[in-house]
Amino acid sequence: MTTPNLVKMKVNGQEVMLPEGKNLLQALMEDIKTEIPHFCYHPGIGPEGSCRLCLVEVTGQPKMATSCTMTVKEGLDIQTQSEVAKDARKHVLEFFLLNHPLDCPFCDKGGECPLQNYTIDAHQTESRFDFAKEQKDKHKIIGDHIILDKERCVLCNRCVRFGSDFIGKEELTIRNRGSHNEIDVPDNQPLTSGFTGNYADFCPVGALTTLEYRFKARPWEMRTVDTVCGGCSVGCNMQAWRKEKTGEVLRLTPRVNHDVNQWWLCDKGRFSIHDLPAEGDRLIEPVDKRVATDVFEKLFETIKSAKAPAFVLDQSATNEEIYITKKLANYSNATVYAPFSSRLLAFRSLLPSTSLTFGQSFDQAQSIAVLGEKLESDHPVLSLRLRRAFHQSQKSIFSYHEGENEFSDIQSVFQKISAKDYFEKKPNVDSSTLFLLSYKWVETTPHETLVSWVKSLPESSQVVLLVNGSNEVGMMDQATNMAPMDEMYQAIKNQKHDVVVLLGDMPQELALLDLSHVSTLVQTVYMASAAHPQALILLPRAFFTEKTGTFTNTFGLVQRLRRAQRVFDRKYETFEWMKAMLENFGHHEEDVTNVLGILSQEVKSYPKTLQAIVESTVTYDHYERTQWR
């Protein structure tokens, strides 16, 4: 990545060095921390210059200029806090407030609303508007998650531009004229894209809010916890908002990370927390169908006396859980099965190591080729990045898979093609291409074909493997002494294991198999009713917002999960009971105490295996929490 060229310019009479070519508003906000009000500009969506709120005085220009539509250049002399500039912004703000309803007490945005903040900052406490305010539709449900309040809208156009630039369809439009100007869904078509939650994030007022969070709490009642989504392998950075009084997580919002999710989240990940069973239905204590008490003692005895126990991890296991499971398996002569594919593991070793982050390699590539999957359904957030890259930096987009074309709205190359045909034909792409290769194609293609394909690629091209599970890469990194799932099905068919401990989802293939020879089946479940009929011991299961640990995402980034809520007692957490069991087995070595230490300590306290992973990957929470939302 090229380092930006710093140039000298004047802000409020002071000389500052700012990166040339950068958006002036963003440079002022980020580099010299000057607060400038703005509505239509959003760092992700870009400038429009329609709200006129970011006006600054430019020496040598007779009129005020919008800072969001200017770029940093040598010798520019601007005044942001002069009387003229402040006065101009104050009067622009007054026009915004003409028809804005006084909804703040019961508006979901109240307390975190830019308009509210700017109004207070400008001391705009009285209205000079003597006429009746414009009346508009106040509660129109326009999708599964979003409710629209037309009166509150300030017509910043962010949602319209997000639709056209990122989703490929203007899901919301502005219609009518003058003071009747309002935002609405065309033809009353509800929002269907998988990214509707973002509207509520970047809407600067309470016009677009989510139904899930509606009237749940006020911002000052909540604390944010920085965590990572466990929905897919991208591992979007997010903030979990926990209500302090009740301890429940009410919403998930994105956290900016330019190498992962930028400013966005998909609805699947964002609203996943609302799909969980209600707290009353959750299993919060371990249940043994034979004895009433001392479940873990019984479990310890069972594992200790078992001939061939098996631990089955699922995709949501953190790196720390994998580590400790392997340790425990070591003592109890158990086999650990994890949902990673040996084909993917073999393919991953083919890829050359790179020092670039995903964001950097994406920016460097001239064209992007998606191989083998519809991004929108498997790794949704990446499809936003691709469409934006086309609109903003004119990258060419190629996609090859057997589904429908998701980029039909932009100029892109699409071919309905199977993996076999693709690797035979090897369609021509630019020399500097970033390939986003789906796990689906890797798993169905012979290894030799893939080897020859990787060799045939030009040197400047890069391949990013998109895996399925949220911590599948972490499993591949720790794959020694673990067996993939296919071997487990075979072992179950051969009646190898007498004790099976399922740490997470029950794989569908396993549910179909005959488990009558398994004497003890242990399962972690959200609800007791969801357990397998043969499960003897049920343990409570934690959702990703209830876990502490790390996930390694599909780009190899080790990211930290922080516990946002606690539904059941700490000693029932997988990591904790395993640690207790290890101590029962007589394991008192330092590495396990260090594994416990990771909860509070930094990367250096990791056990050696994990430390190596962390050091070999690029970053660890190095993005500051920013105020962009």
Binding site: C104, F106, K216
Partner: protein, 166 residues
């Protein structure tokens, strides 16, 4: 600073007896006793049955206000909850069944009168004039839970006492 010694009064032997002073005091006491006995100029009252009249602007315990449409004015904005110094107020937000009339009401509005310090900050914070200080000044209950007032009780004018101007 110079020390100034106050001169001691010259007391006679009758003064050292203290008896004339005691009798002088008792004369006042017994005169009031006689007046009360004859029901002239009462200085105490039969408290729970009789109540003191307060001026209208007297600041007593808080109460909720019912609007003209029959719904409480409160929109559950939670500003009083956050501003309340002893955290006596608890609000749970709820949806009103007719959004055309009102979208949001408090599903639960609880004031723990045992904690309330009658400071009036809730009234000051309220953007909807939904919580006001009544002139109720007597709070007594046999149990702590009896001092936890729910919404229906707070809306009721149970503790409205006739004021001087009424």
């Amino acid at each position: 600073m110079a020390i100034k010694t106050a001169p001691r009064p010259n007391l006679r032997w009758t003064d050292y007896l203290y008896l004339p002073s005691i009798l002088k005091g008792l004369k006042i006491t017994f005169s009031y006793f006689a007046k009360t006995l004859l029901r002239k100029n009462l200085y105490t009252m039969e408290f729970p049955e009789q109540k003191w009249m307060f001026p209208k602007r007297y600041r007593g315990y808080p109460m909720l206000v019912q609007g003209d449409n029959g719904v409480e004015n409160c929109v559950a904005c939670k500003l009083c909850e956050v501003v309340c110094p002893p955290s006596a107020i608890t609000i749970r937000i709820g949806h009103y069944n007719n959004p055309e009339v009102k979208e949001r009401i408090p599903a639960e509005f609880i004031i723990d009168m045992g904690r309330c310090i009658v400071c009036g900050m809730c009234e000051e914070a309220c953007p909807c004039e939904a919580i006001v200080m009544s002139n109720a000044h007597v709070m007594s209950s046999g149990s702590r839970s009896g001092l936890i007032f729910k919404k229906t009780l707070l809306l009721d004018d149970y503790h409205q006492i006739p004021t001087m101007r009424d």
